[in-house]
């Protein structure tokens, strides 16, 4: 564990403006994520969990505040610069898996590598994809299409895709929301193993059982950080 924060959010706000009203999704959030952290973010519906995860993943821009990844301010980057950071530093796991229907399992997992610049060779891509699929025990289904797999299998492919680019952090959005409890538990076990192997992980969940599995638990309420505990400190 290093003392240097891998990810740092300082006084982040996010306001959604429509013609009729302004919605303050996040109000002055401060957050630090350290290397190897297993972090869960929970809170009631509308508290800003998804907005926070979108900002963490550079899927959205904050209205104000600073956001640093490995010490570099990323809050003012252009769309393409943010795409590079997402591609190299962040791995996503979504509730709805978000696999591309038209692509095979192999191609779905290879997708982040194909966006790398300079381009990686086919053999490098193949090695990395196979390695990633082996981590989730899905290397035997490379040529299948997503719709030929079960929900649990699809989420494992999504995890392989998130891992394939060796990201600095995995951002996980309700990973069990579309799964039954058996498959949900299997996925959570897999994520736990990844964190034990040193992967930094930040997960949004409303399930207290899964939130409790994290080393750090954050609670959001009305766009504000209500509680922040470091597992080690608690111990």
């Amino acid at each position: 564990m290093t003392t240097e924060a891998k990810i740092q959010m300082i006084d982040i706000t996010k306001v959604f403006v429509t013609e009729e009203m302004e919605t303050h999704a996040l109000r002055g959030v401060d957050l630090e994520i350290y290397d190897g952290d297993y972090l869960s973010i929970s809170g009631p519906s509308g508290c800003g969990k998804s907005s926070l995860l979108s900002l963490l993943g550079l899927l959205d821009s904050p209205t104000s505040g600073r956001y640093l990844i490995e010490g570099k301010d990323v809050s003012k980057l252009s769309i393409n610069e943010r795409a590079v950071v997402r591609n190299q530093k962040i791995g996503f796991i979504f509730q709805a898996f978000n696999l591309i229907d038209e692509l095979s399992v192999f191609d779905n997992v290879a997708l982040p590598l194909r966006y790398r610049e300079p381009a990686l060779s086919a053999s490098v891509i193949k090695d990395k994809v196979m390695a990633s699929l082996e981590k989730v025990q899905m290397s035997h289904r490379t040529s299948h299409k997503p719709n030929q797999l079960s929900g649990g299998q699809q989420q494992r492919i999504a995890i392989a895709r998130a891992l394939v680019g060796d990201p600095a952090i995995l951002l996980v959005d309700e990973p069990t929301g579309n799964l039954d409890s058996k498959n949900g538990d299997a996925v959570m076990d897999m994520l736990a193993k990844l964190t034990q192997a040193g992967t930094t992980l930040c997960m949004v969940t409303h399930d207290p059982r899964y939130a409790d599995m994290a080393g750090r638990r954050l609670h959001l309420l009305d766009g504000r950080m209500a509680e922040s505990l470091r597992f080690q400190e608690a111990v």
């Binding site: 993943g57 959205d60 393409n80 795409a83 591309i100 229907d101 038209e102 982040p112 790398r116 895709r161």
Partner: protein, 804 residues
């Protein structure tokens, strides 16, 4: 209550559309242009196919035609003037009959001496077509055939343009040619004379007695003469036809002008068939074209509506979740589509108005009744009907995209849901179809435009600058050939003496003009070679026009000598007459006893008024004044007016009338005006094709992009940069676009192959047109592919993932 709801729906639709100006602009532009074309052509069809002529009992009006048969085989469709006059005087199967003879003559006692389009008519004419009068009266029965009365009824336009609408015109005397007429009436402005003998404006109607053709022999047939009639009550069409035919044929045979097995009969044709029948197929063909255009536009706009419906799914989902029923959702969609269709129809009606003007200019002389084109009730009703049908269609198709199951999914997904992905094959097929159709339109319009541009830019081959053509009417006094030749020489001398005149030559026809003379040419053994354009010119003609000789020489002072045996041919004709060369000295014949020896070959020139195939093949004979015509070159910076000519020539022969006086520069501009309009029109069509293609492909891809925005969001979340996504989408679109271009090219070639005969006059296959059309189409397709994607990928990925 229902009205309040309706107003509320339209208010919401208006506000919703206000937020989508790009969508509104593309839909209105696409629909209004195509609706404009459709409404214009609909009006033409209504006019030619269904609209009654503006005469009382128009359905009872018949046109009499003569049919001459030899051994039972019809020979031609012209009418015997003597035969018509005989029927007029002797028949009793018709309640009323009027004779109409087309002619042209000069209005001598007017300072401008305009050449007028005249109709010699019998008094019944005005009753049969119920001529409304602005002033005075029509001809009375006492001013009919053999009455000795010389009276005239003026058209409203002639009255306004030449006499500034003077009220004292009634009773005044007009000298038309050699005769003087008393004006008894002016037809009302709204009078639409039936275009019986030709599709041209009629300036004046004259009493029959001075018709110079009235004393024609029985054997003289002309298409410039017609008769209209109403059948006697109780007499059937067949009975009348049989009785009139017997009456006519008996008199014809008695005249002694007939051949052994020749027979002359009468065909009674309804006025509608006589005037519109030949044009109805053209009108229907145009309607089919306009409907095809509307079909393409509708397909394109449908895609835009589907795309918009896809965008509105979430809003509709919310409405549905709040209890809105399918009908209510449909009503909301219908209100929006109806507003757009009504706006498009309104603009379309304006465009149809411009279309009428364009059609009147382009098809003048080709289609009848064009001056009646107007936005009438039928067109307005049709436009509202089309708007309603289109609005219902768009609303129904939009509704079909958003069933309740989809809406539930849309709500449940709420930012984290699974994206709907449109089938790649469907997407590709739509793009292929769009590109193919637009490509065919583009290739066709580019070819027509290039043809028109080539005509506009084609060098004439001679210099029209400072050149005039003059033709005078020598009148009865100079009917004798020698007298006319002498007059022609005297007038040439007088013209040469005018200070502004540099040179004069004599010819019987202007070098550039519409209408032409052709005479058959045979070889030495009287074997017919073909019928070729002819002009009779004097020794100065080629020099004056600066038409260079390719071989041999021009004429040498042989004018007015009918015994001359020399001829000059154009290069094109030389290639036909002697393809191997050696044309000089060869002899050809006009008649058995008229051998002509070729003494020179002159360079071809281009006459924009005569673009028939083979029109450059001309021959020239030494001048003889069948018509008294002159080509006049004036000095630099000088100009010549009709008035100056009249004053100058009046010293030689005061009664001389100018039949035609044209400045060749002006005449050339007038002749190519139609080609300029055609070029402008096809440029418009090219832009329309591009707009349709762009809107179509944009619609398809916009719709599919809406369906794929979630997928694009995933790519963005995984780190895809904007250019990578652009490249991906462009590459995906490249194949269907390329297939569409290939398909369009094949369809265009196939269409040309199938309709080669009909199309060869209009377009020639042109590689340059193809080469310019394809990249233009590709660029439009690329832009249409790029824009919808750009909208999604320049935003934060979360918006795509949330389907915002």
């Amino acid at each position: 209550m229902a009205v309040t709801n309706l107003i509320h729906e339209f208010k919401l639709a208006y506000l919703s559309l206000k937020r989508a100006p790009g969508f509104v602009a593309i839909v209105v532009a696409t629909l209004s242009i195509t609706l404009g074309a459709l409404l214009c052509i609909f009006n033409l069809n209504h006019l030619l196919l269904t609209k009654a002529f503006p005469y009382p009992d128009a359905d009872k009006l018949m046109v009499l035609d003569h049919v001459i048969t030899v051994d039972g085989v019809p020979q031609h469709g012209s009418n015997s003037i003597a035969g018509m006059q005989h029927l007029y005087k002797q028949q009793n199967s018709l309640e009323s009959m009027a004779l109409v003879q087309r002619d042209r003559t000069v209005l001598v006692n007017h300072q401008d001496q305009p050449r007028l389009s005249v109709r010699y008519v019998t008094p019944e004419y005005f009753q049969l077509v119920a001529t409304p009068m602005a002033l005075g009266r029509p001809f009375s029965q006492e001013e009919g055939i053999d009455s000795g009365e010389h009276v005239a009824v003026m058209s409203f336009r002639l009255w306004q343009e030449q006499y500034q609408g003077r009220a004292d015109i009634i009773g005044s005397k007009l000298q038309l040619g050699d005769n003087t007429y008393r004006v008894v009436g002016v037809a009302a402005e709204n009078f639409q004379p039936p275009q019986l003998t030709d599709i041209e404006y009629e300036d004046i109607w004259l009493s029959w007695d001075n018709n110079p053709h009235a004393d024609a022999q029985w054997g003289m047939f002309t298409s410039a003469m017609k008769a209209i009639a109403v059948l006697e009550d109780g007499v059937s069409h067949q009975q009348a036809q049989a009785t009139l035919s017997a009456l006519l044929n008996d008199a014809y045979r008695a005249s002694g002008s007939t051949l052994e097995d020749e027979m002359l009969s009468v065909a009674l044709i309804s006025l509608e068939d006589a005037i519109s029948a030949d044009s109805q197929n053209v009108a229907l063909l145009l309607l089919a074209g306009a409907l095809a255009l509307l079909l393409i536009a509708t397909a394109n706009v449908t895609n835009l509506f589907l795309s918009r419906a896809a965008q509105k799914r979430r809003m509709l989902a919310i409405q549905a979740s709040l209890g809105a029923r399918t009908q209510q959702l449909f009503r909301a969609l219908f209100a929006e589509s109806l507003l757009l269709c009504l706006a498009s129809t309104t603009v379309g009606l304006l465009m149809a108005g411009w279309g009428f003007v364009l059609l009147q200019q382009l098809a003048e002389g080709e289609l009848p009744r064009l001056h009646e084109l107007s936005l009438d009730v039928a067109t307005l009703v049709f436009s509202v009907f089309v708007a309603l049908v289109l609005a219902l269609l768009f609303a129904w198709l939009s509704r079909s995209v958003i069933n309740f199951r989809d809406l539930r999914e849309q709500l449940q997904s709420s930012g984290k849901g699974s994206g709907v992905q449109i089938d790649k094959k469907v997407r590709s097929s739509l793009v292929i179809a769009q590109v193919s159709l637009a490509c065919v339109l583009l290739i066709g319009s580019t070819m027509v435009m290039q043809q028109a541009l080539q005509t506009i830019e084609k060098p004439l081959g001679f210099n029209t600058h400072q050149l005039y053509h003059l033709r005078v009417d020598p009148g009865q006094e100079f009917r004798d050939n020698d007298a006319r030749a002498a007059l022609s020489r005297d007038l040439k001398s007088a013209l040469q003496k005018m200070p502004q005149v540099a040179a004069v030559s004599r010819s019987i026809a202007a070098p550039i003009r519409e209408g032409r003379m052709s005479i058959t040419l045979s070889d030495e053994n009287m074997q017919r070679i073909g019928s070729f354009r002819i002009n009779l010119v004097d020794e100065n003609y080629f020099n004056l026009l600066q038409l260079p000789m390719a071989q041999g020489r021009g004429f040498q002072n042989q004018a007015d000598d009918q015994s001359s045996t020399e001829m000059v041919v154009s290069e094109s004709l030389a290639n036909i007459l002697a393809p191997e060369g050696g044309i000089l000295g060869k002899v050809f014949k006009l008649e058995e006893d008229q051998p002509m020896r070729v003494v020179g070959v002159v360079k071809d020139y281009f006459n924009p008024g005569d673009m028939e195939e083979g029109s450059a093949a001309k021959y020239y004979l030494p001048h003889f004044p069948y018509f008294v015509g002159f080509d006049i070159k004036v000095s630099a910076d000088s100009a010549l007016s009709k008035q100056q000519i009249m004053e100058s020539l009046a010293q030689i022969y005061p009664k001389l009338r100018i039949e035609e006086f044209i400045k060749l520069d002006t005449s050339y501009q007038e002749l190519i005006y139609r080609h300029k309009v055609s070029a402008a029109l096809t440029l418009g069509l090219t832009l329309l094709a591009l707009l349709l293609a762009g809107a179509g492909i944009y619609g398809v891809l916009s719709y599919s992009t809406q369906m794929r925005r979630y997928e694009l969001g995933i790519h963005m979340a995984l780190g895809a940069k904007t250019h990578q996504l652009q490249r991906k989408i462009m590459l995906e679109s490249l194949l269907p676009v390329a297939l569409g271009l290939l398909g369009g090219l094949l369809i265009a070639l196939l269409a040309y192959g199938l309709a080669k005969q009909q199309l060869s006059q209009l377009v020639q296959p042109n590689v340059l047109a193809l080469l310019s059309a394809l990249p233009l189409m590709s660029a439009t397709a690329a832009l249409a592919c790029y824009l919808p994607v750009r909208r999604v990928i320049v935003q934060d990925p979360v918006k795509a993932l949330r389907n915002e």
